[in-house]
Amino acid sequence: MNAISPTPKRAYDLNFARYVYENIDGGERLRMCMQCGACSGSCPIGQQMDHGPRKLFMMIRAGMKEAVLTSNTIWNCVSCYNCVVRCPRKVPITYILHDLAYLAVQEGYEPAKKADNARFAKAFWWSAAKYGRTDERLVTGIYYFSFGIGEGMKRGMANQKIAMNMIKTKRMHLGMPHAIKAKDELQKILAKATEIQARHGKGA
């Protein structure tokens, strides 16, 4: 295990590939990527990605850390797992993209602060960690307002009709957030897990 997170300052870092191999969930299989492109070709929104997984993985090998962690590829993944089941070398691509996104958040890259997915994840995790359940109403609300008050209002209004439909069909409730009973317990577990992650040089 390489416990040192490579420096975020450098555009090229030869240690980055090794870091990914050893620290990213599923990263050890990335050694076997043979650059066939089945992943990028299978991606339903690959055309909206700047690089696509195939190229992103080659960039990792080339040590292009900054370009990888500022790439929109990691934020555009829809988690359909087409690439995972089609990869002839059994590279767990989706998992790797998720963990790279986490790394980008941890290292504070700008796109990781601004990307929809990152904002949504922040709202989602807040709800999951605080209440033990994700309340769709709360998560989307916090997500919308992460863009600022004005933008939040705008997004909320745009989805008002959908929200009304959900409320009418009793699929969105208006009371207190859903929550588990043992919130403290869960928070302790998560705190410990976060602490263990930090031992591996991941997270704050």
Partner: protein, 741 residues
């Protein structure tokens, strides 16, 4: 013994139904006044009994068999006494032309005329078996290839003289601790088997090891080579195995890849030495943490070696795996354009990937040496330049230069011109015109041959002839190359290659002693005989022989070395005065066969076109056409020849002056990617044909009447169309005005 010819016609396989046998028998009995018998199944026991009875009774000594192609039933018709003449009435007559047709009948009758005529012109060949023949094999080169060859030759019962230039056996392989795996699961470098092999060879009494010696001179021929060594000793050997290996490409020419700029930029050979010595360290004395391999360093590059050396990819995989095993913290990059890992090496490639080696597809465009080395990679997959650095070491994967010359010997003027003409088949201005054709240095064997001291090489400098059709064969009979001097290869391949060259050596030793030809005319007992009374000393035969079999004596007369000869007859075709012939093959015989054909009058509107067909590919392809029942013009008459190289221009003028309307030469593809079984026979025919225009003009004939067609053995479906087109073309020119003269 007096030659008595008798003809036997087979009516089996539908031949009897398709042809008028009475008329066919009449050709033999009336025109040739020879006995003729027909049988419904000549190749059956009863049919053969008819022929055997006549031969035992002394009534026939040379049977002419009008039946199937000479390419089939050869064992059935192998009768004691003279080899029967076979007239092909099946594949090339009734299977390729309509039954009961007037033109088919005329074709069949002409076929009988041609081969009855051949019978009158052949004699039983008297083989060359003069003097003693040695069974010893001389192996030149004491590396892995030579050691393997020596060991295998002894196992097959032959004595060996193993000559090594250096003081110690082992060659290049002596510098390698580990080799690319040849055993499952092909994941880890294997121990080098060389030390054990050296011990084994040294302990074998039938191998005489001579180290520190080179070959001063080689003369003679298979079965009786005279080899003089630099130590003054002289040896008579039956065959020679050339196992001189390779030298690494001169890395000082790779300054553009940083060679020489830093002690940490090394070749794969130098890295191998470091790995053998123990722990790899940089010049600063530390274990390298980041190493890049640059593949194809000076290979597949028109400015350096134009070819792929085939092993550098797997060698880099091996070294990369060794480096990551020695220090798991080491990051290894392999910059490649194409990773060439044939066969099980693919497993080894996978093992390197598993070990975490990073492969970058692209070209190293710049190597800079500052604080650490930076290699700029034009990455094909990223479509951008990637500055790879800082690196602690860079390894240049350099290729192999064949030791087809001895770099320590001065180049010899004599024969160099001939050699260059031989190896540079690319026309000037050709897009692929490799520069370093001949590796610098002197000849290895210093052959005392008319055609020079060198072994002919392929364009890239490898000593080989046609490595697909005739592996191990050089263009000097009895001398067989194996290992990297023949083509780049790894140790596993060298092992097999050495065995192959030894088998070829044993083959030539056995055949030479019996006066037999070797491949491709295996068993042929004839060899060229020259009537020196008619010889004009023009030297065409000594220059054109594809195998350098003919030398010149002190009076400039040609001298045939029969066991060097492959019996193609290129000398015979070259001789302007037709004084070279074989006991059973001569210009006169072929000319008589051409003239034996009945040429119909002009008003019958039945043109006749002579097809001179090479026996190796064109003739079998015509048989294949028949087997597939492809139909073609019945106006052609096929004259089989040993090689188009044996075609004398006289045959063409004879054909045209006797009224044929055209001549088609059908033979193997000439040129740099030749398919000629005798290397350059068809090229010689093409060369001669380029001079036919003057002859035709002097006869006031159109040049369109004579053409040459490339034919491969797979052309059975194509040739009928080609024939029909040519017949139509020649027909359009109009009838030959010489008809009826």
């Amino acid at each position: 013994m007096e030659k008595k010819i008798g003809a036997y016609l087979c009516s089996g396989c539908g031949i009897g139904d398709a042809l008028d046998f009475k008329a066919l028998e009449g050709v033999v009995s009336k025109e040739f006044k020879k006995p003729v018998k027909s049988h419904e199944c000549l190749c059956g026991d009863a049919g053969l009994a008819v022929i055997k009875a006549d031969m035992e009774a002394g009534e026939v000594t040379l049977p002419v068999i009008g039946a199937c192609s000479p390419r089939v039933m050869t064992d059935r018709f192998m009768l004691p006494g003279m080899t029967p003449i076979r007239a092909n009435l099946r594949e090339q007559v009734i299977w390729s032309h309509p039954a009961g047709d007037e033109d088919t009948q005329m074709l069949a009758e002409d076929v009988m005329r041609m081969f009855m005529t051949q019978a009158t012109k052949v004699n039983d060949p008297v083989p060359f078996t003069e003097g003693d023949f040695s069974t010893t094999i001389l192996v030149l080169g004491g590396g892995y290839a030579g050691l393997t060859a020596a060991k295998q030759a002894v196992k097959a019962g032959h004595g060996v003289i193993l000559v090594e230039k250096k003081a110690e056996l082992g060659g290049n392989a002596a510098n390698w601790a580990n080799i690319v795996p040849s055993k499952p699961p092909y994941h880890d470098p294997q121990a080098n088997p060389l030390p054990g092999l050296i011990d084994e060879v040294k302990a074998t009494s039938a191998i005489r090891v001579i180290t520190g010696a080179t070959v001063a001179k080689t003369s003679g021929m298979p079965g009786k080579f005279q080899v003089e060594l630099s130590d003054g000793s002289s040896h008579t050997v039956g065959a020679i195995v050339l196992a001189t290996g390779f030298r690494p490409y001169d890395a000082t020419k790779l300054a553009h890849l940083g060679y020489g700029a830093s002690a940490d930029i090394v070749t794969n050979v130098e890295m191998e030495a470091k790995l053998k010595a123990g722990k790899v360290v940089t010049k600063a004395g530390s274990s390298p943490k980041a190493v890049a391999f640059i593949q194809c360093a000076g290979s597949r590059d028109p400015n350096h070696l134009p070819y792929c050396s085939s092993v550098c990819c797997s060698v880099s995989l091996k070294q990369a795996i060794q480096l990551t095993k020695a220090d798991p913290e080491t990051m290894v990059y392999v910059i490649y354009e194409e990773m060439r890992t044939p066969g099980t090496t693919e497993e080894f490639y996978r093992a390197a990937q598993e070990a975490g080696v990073i492969f970058m597809k692209g070209k190293a465009t710049k190597v800079e040496n500052g604080s650490g080395i930076t290699v700029t990679v034009a990455d094909e997959l990223l479509q951008q330049d990637v500055p790879l650095g800082p690196l602690d070491m860079v390894v240049l994967a350099t290729g192999m230069v064949p030791n087809s010359t001895d770099p320590d010997q001065p180049a010899q003027e004599y024969g160099a011109e001939l050699l260059n003409a031989d190896i540079n088949p690319y026309p000037a201005g050709d897009s692929y015109n490799p520069t370093p054709a001949v590796p610098p240095g002197g000849p290895l064997l210093n052959l005392q041959y008319r055609q020079g001291p060198h072994l002919p090489m392929l364009a890239d400098g490898f000593s080989d002839s046609h490595y697909i059709c005739f592996p191990y064969e050089t263009r000097r009979t009895g001398i067989y190359a194996c290992g990297p001097v023949r083509r780049p290869m790894d140790m596993g391949e060298v092992h097999e290659d050495a065995m192959g060259a030894v088998l070829k050596s044993i083959q030539v030793i056995r055949n030479a002693a019996q006066g037999h030809a070797v491949h491709p005319r295996v068993g042929d007992l004839s060899y060229p005989k020259i009537n020196l009374n008619a010889c004009t000393k023009c030297r065409r035969c000594t220059v054109e022989c594809p195998f350098g079999a003919i030398d010149e004596n002190e009076k400039d007369y040609p001298v045939v070395n029969p066991t060097r000869c492959r019996r193609c007859g290129t000398c015979m075709g070259a001789c302007p005065v037709r004084t070279i012939s074989f006991d059973n093959y001569s210009v006169e015989m072929l000319s008589s066969m051409v003239k034996a054909v009945n040429i119909p009058d002009e008003d019958e509107e039945k043109p006749r076109i002579l097809v001179i067909a090479c026996e190796n590919d064109a003739y079998p392809a015509l048989d294949m056409a028949g087997i597939a029942k492809h139909q073609y013009s019945p106006f052609i008459r096929v004259l089989p020849v040993r090689c188009l190289g044996s075609m004398s221009l006289l045959l063409i003028s004879d054909a045209l002056s006797s009224g044929y309307d055209g001549v088609v030469l059908m033979g193997c593809k000439p040129g740099d990617d030749y398919q000629c079984h005798f290397v350059k026979g068809s090229a010689m025919a093409k060369e001669r044909l380029s001079k036919i225009a003057d002859t035709l003009k002097s006869m006031q004939l159109e040049v369109e009447r004579v053409t040459m067609v490339d034919a491969s053995i797979a052309d059975g479906a194509r040739l009928p169309k080609v024939i029909d087109e040519l017949v139509a073309k020649i027909d359009a020119v109009g009838p030959n005005p010489f008809k009826g003269f």
